[in-house]
Amino acid sequence: MAEITREEIIKPENLVYKKTDLLVDRALSYCPGCGHGTVHRMLMEVIEEMDIQSQTIGIAPVGCSVLAYEFLDIDMQQAAHGRAPALATAIKRLMPEKYVFTYQGDGDLAAIGTAETIHACNRGENIVIIFINNGIYGMTGGQMAPTTLPGMKASTCPYGRDTQIMGNPLKITELVATLPGTCYVTRHSVHTPANVRKTKRAIRKAFELSYANKGVSFVEVVSNCNSGWKMTPVQSNKWMEENMFPYYPLGDIKVPTV
């Protein structure tokens, strides 16, 4: 039997995967290998699958993903630094029929926005919080973040984070899991295909639970920052597996009881 050629395979009826049309056809502003792009795509795939493009309102943060509204083809609102959960609270209370999510980094959510995050989670607002944790301030030049690991180098701690002077990394995901207002708290990553698919399922579950008025759904994605960590993308993924995952273990931290 004759071998099938590449041209015979590449036909519209054989298509199995392409970038979703809900991502605007524009080059992403992120560094090569950055997890933001993957999380954006998974988020948009969930919205496409649930067919809620016109019912979803996203809150863009301050940080690398400050321009998220340039890429996500849904209604978006920009919040002041760290204030995304407060803004999401207002939007969800005014329009309870909408799906409302915030998309925040660790500097935004766990440093300047700690108060807003904790109180929104404690009040049990019916929103989704997507938290990208790369342990560093990527956008401003790789300064130490609350989530920087002990001994990890950053531009403001060039000899590594000394916990005696600089304190310990903040496990904000475990912290919000203890609050009664959260219904679903989970931690994932996007560095391998299997983990990307798990992250997508978690985001979908989070959207469904928030729409069912169960409380805050909090999805942490442990991501890399190869520019900030001064590594290649592949090295940074490996470093993340070896160093970030022991401190930030992947998996569900709080699941709703039926």
Partner: protein
């Protein structure tokens, strides 16, 4: 028993050459081109015909530059 054959199409102008797809591919289909695109990045290219259309590379690509096609080819017993 049908055999699965796949093919990928890479949008080379959007590829940033992060090489994450190379690690994700179980069949070692992808490699980096020694040429660069308009932005100066080495871009991913297909090197052989072993693709099974598993979509791993496309799922893990941060910039979503890979489109995957797959067919089932009936083989004679």
């Amino acid at each position: 028993m049908a055999k699965v054959k796949g093919a990928i199409v890479i949008n080379i102008e959007r590829c940033k050459g992060c090489e994450v797809c190379i690690d994700a591919c179980p069949e070692s289909v992808i490699a980096m081109n020694k040429n660069v695109n308009a932005k100066g990045y080495h871009f991913a290219m297909v090197t052989n015909e072993n693709c099974t259309g598993c979509t791993n590379c496309a799922v893990v690509c941060p910039d979503g530059v890979i489109t995957v096609y797959r067919v089932k080819v009936p083989t004679e017993v």
